[in-house]
């Protein structure tokens, strides 16, 4: 791909510095451009990442004797994490949260909105785009309070209870559905915008032909639309899955204090910062990292299989 930009092989014109290097710059010179950015990322990302792996096999803690003299404990932290029912329940909550809000909610609703709004007049499409974009882009702490107020429990009755004339503590009694509805509200914008952009790349003649051939709306989607924009949809799915998996925002709704709504990042935060068990927290982070990796690899596998 890179070669395609210069049709003349570099060796063919050894004397002309201009074509030998498209910008007339030596390789060390080019490196000088890239280095500042890369060094920053490597030093402050790769080093902490390696550190996480290391901390995971120690009993490092913020206070007490383990703070100054952490010792090597092997895989004990991993064993402890995998035998901890609260950790396992956090995994289950997280998976339900990701599946319900990202995969089903944001992806399906986002695509459906984009598909439906595709032909809508601009006066209708633009306000909706602006609104959903707001929900996606405002600060997590702000969103947290918006929704904490919305689900507000009695006696300080929240919006939902006021509207429905009920006295329900939504976040305690229905933690997972409450979080899912919240995250659909927050994140649908991204899937909608991305699907919309992908749909715009479809040549109108494709759908025209399908319509003339008598294809129903669903048939058009299945046979024309999905195969054409599969790559974008899968990328979108990967992005929102990983984002939701690593999302810390539920903390802003629950203060991290509702067991049924404790996702993996919140649980890890508790273990590491509140109980000061950094070794254990790091081991859990590593497990989380592995799950992320598996999701990403699974996505690549599907993408490659369907590309054929």
């Amino acid at each position: 791909m890179a070669q395609a930009t210069s049709p003349i092989p570099e060796t063919a014109l050894p004397s002309a510095g201009l074509t030998a290097n498209p910008a007339g710059l030596s390789r060390p010179g080019a490196l000088a451009f890239i280095t500042p950015g890369l060094i920053l990322i490597v030093v402050f990302l790769a080093v902490p990442a390696a550190w996480t792996l290391y901390l995971g096999v120690t009993n490092y803690a913020l206070f007490g004797p383990q703070a100054s003299h952490p010792s090597f404990v092997g895989l004990a932290n991993y064993a402890q994490a995998l035998h901890d029912p609260l950790f396992l329940s956090a995994v289950v909550v997280t998976v339900a949260y990701v599946f319900g809000s990202a995969v089903v909610g944001q992806m399906v609703l986002g695509f459906a909105l984009a598909w439906k709004l595709r032909q809508a007049p601009a006066w209708m499409r633009q306000p909706i785009e602006t609104l959903v974009l707001f929900a996606w882009i405002i600060p997590a702490a702000v969103v947290g309070f918006l929704w904490a107020t919305f689900y507000g429990p009695p006696p300080q009755t929240g919006t939902l209870n006021t509207v429905l004339h009920t006295q329900v503590n939504w976040l305690y009694q229905f933690p997972i559905p409450a979080l899912i509805v919240f995250n659909i509200w927050r994140g649908t914008a991204f899937s909608m915008l991305l699907s919309g952009a992908a749909l715009n790349t479809l040549p109108p003649s494709y759908l025209e032909t399908a319509r003339l051939a008598g294809a129903s709306g669903w048939q058009q989607l299945r046979d024309v639309v999905f195969p054409s924009i599969r790559g974008t949809l899968l990328t979108n799915l990967l992005l929102i899955t990983l984002w939701t998996f690593n999302d810390f925002t539920p903390f802003n709704l629950t203060g991290g204090a509702i067991p049924g709504a404790t996702t993996l990042p919140i649980y890890i935060y508790h273990e590491a910062f509140e109980f000061s068990l950094f070794g254990l927290g790091s081991a859990m982070s590593t497990i989380m990292l592995l799950i992320n990796l598996i999701i990403a690899l699974g996505y690549l596998w599907v993408l490659r299989r369907t590309a054929r």
Binding site: T52, K116, E129, T149, L193
Partner: protein, 281 residues
């Protein structure tokens, strides 16, 4: 024919209804917070209220800025976000330019690495960075946040700038080269002015990313005079007997306004930038 039309009409009616529902669903939390922020303490203490507050006052905003000094966290947030944005744009422009024009062969490798970093779980970064900043004596220091946000802002910036630079035709740069311009002059005088709209988008996204962060600020900033706005909100309105939601919500409104303004100013560009980055990938 008539049947088809009728069916289409009911279909459209249903569609408009759904659209209306979505608009209400999206707007309602905003409305509720705005309405609450204009309530006074007495009204709030009464508890239940209808959809429309009985009294509209600015009392909670006065309390917010006078008693709670909310200007300080707003200034902290603005400072950190501005510094991060400037640095990430500078480094990002250099990196993206090099990847597009100077060493295109490294492009795929570097971009994949950069993309991978963007998905590294935030929670796994907090611990190690906390210790690093503790040893470097950077806790409670703006630098801790600026450096941390750069880790996340820079990859997004590079990713977007690469897609913007590669859309710009090479002709002008080649003309500049023939006239004897150096690489640096080509970048700053020729390419960058052409890329201004895209750079602007990258800047807005970087600013929003910093402005919105909660978990890093929560972990690294320990004294209230260094809190950023999202962190300060969480500590607003707490008293022994009651949570003053009107004051919290006033803080929420003030923190949201800059973001709302940015989105309204640049919605089109933000959308274009977001989808450009992802469609290319």
């Amino acid at each position: 024919m008539i049947a088809v039309k009728a069916r289409r009409a009911t279909g459209n009616g249903f569609f408009y209804f759904a659209v209306l529902l979505i608009i209400v669903f999206s707007l309602f939390p905003f409305y509720w917070v705005l309405a609450t922020s204009f309530e006074n303490n007495q009204e709030l203490s009464l508890g239940t209220r209808g959809l429309w507050p009985a009294v509209w006052t600015l009392q909670s905003y006065v309390t917010l800025f006078h008693q709670d000094n909310f200007l300080i966290p707003i200034a902290n947030s603005a400072l950190v976000a501005a510094c991060t944005t400037v640095i990430s744009l500078f480094a990002g422009v250099l990196t993206a330019y090099a990847l597009v024009r100077l060493v295109p062969r490294a492009r795929v490798a570097v971009l994949s690495f950069i993309l991978a970093t963007a998905f590294f779980p935030v929670i796994a970064m907090v611990g190690p960075l906390f210790f690093a900043y503790k040893d470097l004596d950077l806790l409670n220091n703006y630098l801790a946040l600026i450096v941390t946000y750069l880790i996340y802002a820079l990859p997004i910036g590079v990713w977007m700038l690469v897609s913007i630079f590669s859309q710009i035709p090479k002709d002008l740069e080649e003309a500049g080269m023939v006239d004897g311009a150096t690489t640096r002059q080509i970048l700053w005088r020729i390419l960058l002015p052409l890329a201004v709209p895209g750079v602007f988008t990258a800047a807005i996204l970087s600013f929003i990313l910093c402005w919105n962060d909660f978990v890093f600020a929560l972990s690294f900033m320990t004294s209230p005079d260094r809190y950023t706005a999202p962190l300060a909100i969480v500590n607003l309105g707490q008293s022994q007997y009651q949570v003053f939601y009107n004051i919290i919500d006033a803080g929420v409104v003030v923190t949201t306004i800059p973001i709302v303004v940015l989105v309204l100013l640049a919605q089109r560009r933000i959308v274009a930038g977001l989808s450009a980055g992802s469609l290319k990938g």
